[in-house]
């Protein structure tokens, strides 16, 4: 399988504010339409097209709601 960047959204930490969705230049994030344990409709990766730009990470006000995996740098 090809090693591509992707965002990792933590369902329970996400507050569904939508800032990552609006900011993603590739428009690959969307609302899941589902409600998490705390009652927020959390964001979701559409599964394709992430470039690993970290823009969603920087726009997200929740420290642990979105992380981004990017293969091109040293392994973590």
């Amino acid at each position: 399988m090809e090693d591509k960047p992707y965002p990792i959204i933590s369902e329970d930490e996400c507050k569904g504010c939508g800032r990552c969705i609006a900011a993603c230049p590739k428009k690959v994030l969307r609302s899941s339409g589902s409600v998490n344990n705390r009652g927020y409709i959390y964001a979701k990766y559409s599964g394709e097209g992430c470039t690993g730009c970290f823009i969603c990470y920087y726009n997200c006000p929740e420290p642990y709601a979105v992380e981004v995996y990017r293969p091109d740098s040293e392994a973590d």
Binding site: I8, S10, D12, E13, K15, G16, C17, G18, R19, I21, A22, A23, N37, R38, Y40, F54, I55, Y57, Y58, N59, C60, P61, E62, P63, Y64, A65, E67, V68, Y69, R70, S73, E74, A75, D76
Partner: protein
């Protein structure tokens, strides 16, 4: 690699249950983004272990649950003052303060302003969302003209409530700040600039180069009553006309100013007095004596008290000396209270003196009735004394000014009273300690020592001639 938050605790222990890694901030709140930027910069600069973070009152009160470093919470508005204090106590440690616009701009403005003016050595992050957010969206000093808040339902009226406070612009008028920049976290481009400014301010602080200030425009979708994405867009539009972004100042390349070092001085060098090497002793058998010296400013009332206090100190007595005077340097009424004891003195104030010295009419009138039964009032004999003296108190008119005049030092009336007290046995000290203290008090003008000693002796002689000894 995985891009994730750094510089923050792994878990935010405030909340139980699910999402123990979520903040308390509302969805889409700018504070969350700022938290991540500060944490990341601290981690990149490897300064968490050393840093002290001073948190505010307001939406960011709980910041101590997030930043992985040392914390102190300040009362409302006082984060800058607390940071100033810590920066003085821990001059080598990075100090970071975080304040909102209600906190810093209103109740705490003077604290922040004076810290900026002194160039106190800390980084100050100022989060501006143009209202009091935590308490429900009231008007803050930063609220825009016409902006609706819960306390300005028809919009802020600048005639009644003034103009928005532009803190960067105000601080820019000061000499001392090293770095001043205004940024925003409303969109990606702005967030990336905010990241740079925050890191710069922290680097300046890591290198202890002085006061670094970053104002961060931060949308509050909760009080803007809008969806976070729309709120952030509208926020840029509304705010940046009044609060333009940009760097105001960066003097971080200059070396940090170093204060002049303060040489060590002994008490004697500083005060010209002081009795080093004398220990105060507990002596329960010694009866506490309370002296009230009074007159008008310029008669040497306070120095008379000091001479008595010094003599007491040199005999190892506990002593307190407390002056009381009006705003006038000369001519107003002045008094001082001296207590000499064989044990620690509770309060330096005196309600019932054993000895009252009154060098003018108003003080005699004012204090005569307070003298303790069995006490003594010594007053200048040239003043009117047709006031009633309390029963059981010995009131003695004493010609201090004529004795001083006769000996060629008209201003030495206070020394005459000292001699009279000594002659009457009112001073429980060896005479040498009294005259040494008198000489010490005149050490700046040695030519006056001899004439004052003559006045002292003449006063004593007056007492023995009149047989006023008690």
């Amino acid at each position: 690699m995985i891009k994730r938050s750094t510089g923050l605790y792994e878990n935010f222990t405030r909340k139980e249950g699910t999402a123990t890694r979520a903040t308390h901030y509302c969805a889409g709140c700018g504070h969350g983004i700022i938290t991540k930027l500060i944490g990341e910069a601290m981690a990149e600069l490897d300064m968490q272990n050393d840093s002290v973070f001073v948190g505010p009152v307001g939406c960011a009160t709980f910041c101590y649950y997030y930043f992985d470093c040392g914390h102190i919470s300040a009362p409302h508005g006082r984060a800058s003052a607390v940071a100033t204090g810590i920066s003085r106590v821990l001059p080598d440690k990075p100090i970071i303060a975080y304040q909102g616009d209600g906190d810093l701009g209103a109740i705490g403005f003077n604290n922040a302003f004076q810290a900026a003016n002194r160039g106190d050595n800390f980084a100050l992050f100022f989060v501006n969302n143009a209202l009091y957010a935590m308490t429900g969206g009231q008007m803050a000093p930063t609220t825009l003209p016409g902006q609706r808040t819960t306390t300005t339902p028809f919009g802020r009226d600048i005639v009644k409530t003034g103009y928005p406070l532009k803190v960067c612009e105000v601080f820019e008028t000061l000499e001392a700040p090293v770095f001043i920049e205004r940024v925003s976290v409303a969109d990606t481009k702005r967030i990336m600039q905010a990241k740079k400014a925050i890191k710069k301010a922290l680097k300046i602080q890591k290198e202890k180069k002085g006061f670094a200030f970053v104002e961060i425009l931060s949308p509050c979708p909760n009080n803007m009553r809008d969806d976070p994405v729309k709120a952030a867009e509208a926020f840029t539009e509304i705010m940046e006309k009044t609060y333009p972004l940009g760097n105001f100042r960066d003097r971080s390349e200059k070396p940090a100013p170093t204060p002049e070092s303060v040489p060590r001085r002994t008490e004697r060098e500083l005060t010209g007095g002081g009795r080093e090497g004398i220990t105060t002793k507990n002596d329960p058998s010694f009866r506490e004596r309370k002296f009230k010296f009074s007159g008008f400013g310029g008669q040497g009332i306070l120095s008379l008290g000091l001479v008595v206090a010094e003599a007491a100190v040199s005999e190892g007595r506990y002593v307190s000396w407390m002056p009381s005077y009006g705003p006038e340097q000369r001519g107003g009424s002045a008094s001082c209270s001296v207590i000499v004891g064989g044990k620690e003195i509770g309060s330096p104030t005196i309600d019932d003196p054993d000895v009252l010295v009154a060098m003018n009419q108003p003080s005699l009138e004012r204090f005569a009735s307070s003298v303790k039964e069995g006490g003594v009032i010594l007053f200048e004999s040239s003043i009117r004394s047709d006031i009633g003296f309390p029963a059981g108190v010995k009131a003695i008119p004493f010609p201090a000014s004529s004795i001083a005049n006769e000996n060629g030092v008209p201003k030495a009336g206070n020394t005459a009273f000292l001699g009279a007290m000594a002659g009457m046995g009112l001073l429980p000290f060896k005479e040498k300690d009294i005259t040494d203290a008198l000489a010490e008090s005149l050490s700046a003008r040695p030519q006056l020592i001899e004439p004052n000693m003559k006045v002292f002796e003449a006063a004593k002689k007056w007492v023995s001639d009149k047989e006023h000894s008690i």
